[in-house]
Amino acid sequence: MGSAIPVDDEAGLITQLRAGDESAYEHVVRTYGGRLLAVTRRILGSDEDARDVVQDAFLNAFRSVNRFEGNSKLSTWLHRIAVNAALMKLRTRKRKPEQSIEALLPAFLDDGHHEERFQSWDEPVDQAMERAETRQLVRAQIDALPESYRTVLVLRDIEGLDTEETAKMLGLTVNATKIRLHRARQALRSLLAPHLAGAGPGKAVS
């Protein structure tokens, strides 16, 4: 199973791919497939669509491996291809009407103060995230965000693309991208807060 190519020998791997070495192709799919499935599933909200998109992305990448210039890491390059394929799929897929994000944004009184009094979380976020159930909860709440907000959050905060690149990929202006990201983060906060403050997981509730 797999081949013994070290992941850090990218130049060697690229050479093998260009030479049509079957084991190099297999190595790439086994090494990067999991991450690509996770990110495309997060964008698409569907295991089946993610699988199709990742398969196409690999084929696309293998086809154009001669054009890979090595300015970025192989993993980054593969991610761009897979994310683009997922976004393309989103566009062609029948759109479900999107739920409004308004209810998940902070509300303000007439005098400009927050309506809500924010309750501190039970523990620092790093500590909370040490628990598998909290990590699972965070993923579930990200998946629950309306699609157009979830996409921006995934590209910026998880994939680590910059604002300009995200805007370009989504066909948005930089400003619209920033607004959407800000709302997505605020909405995620609203979704997570009830679980992380007061009676968060692992807390004894009497």
Binding site: E26, L37, V54, Q136, L153
Partner: protein, 83 residues
């Protein structure tokens, strides 16, 4: 600055892009408003939480890529005339 404006500037503030003049107003408000301090902590916490939950080291990643995907990609590549 009111809590409402502070909330609008959060994204630029946490990414270090808030112009100096706004930043001093922002920080002055923050120093006086416990509720906004808490909101900022949670806002930044969500960014971090997302990164940890879904990032490169995430435990959601399968230990092995599904075998049928590996086979399908390799088979399709062989049939692909342009690769």
């Amino acid at each position: 600055m009111k809590c409402r404006e502070l909330a609008e500037f959060l994204l630029d503030y946490v990414s270090g892009e808030l112009p100096e003049e706004n930043r001093s107003h922002f920080e002055l408000h923050l120093s006086r408003c416990r509720n906004c301090r808490e909101y900022l902590v949670q806002y930044e916490g969500c960014v971090k939480a997302g990164r940890i939950a879904c990032g490169e080291m995430s435990d959601e990643l399968p230990a092995d890529v599904p075998e049928d995907l590996v086979k399908a990609v390799l088979a399709a590549r062989k049939l692909d005339p342009s690769s």
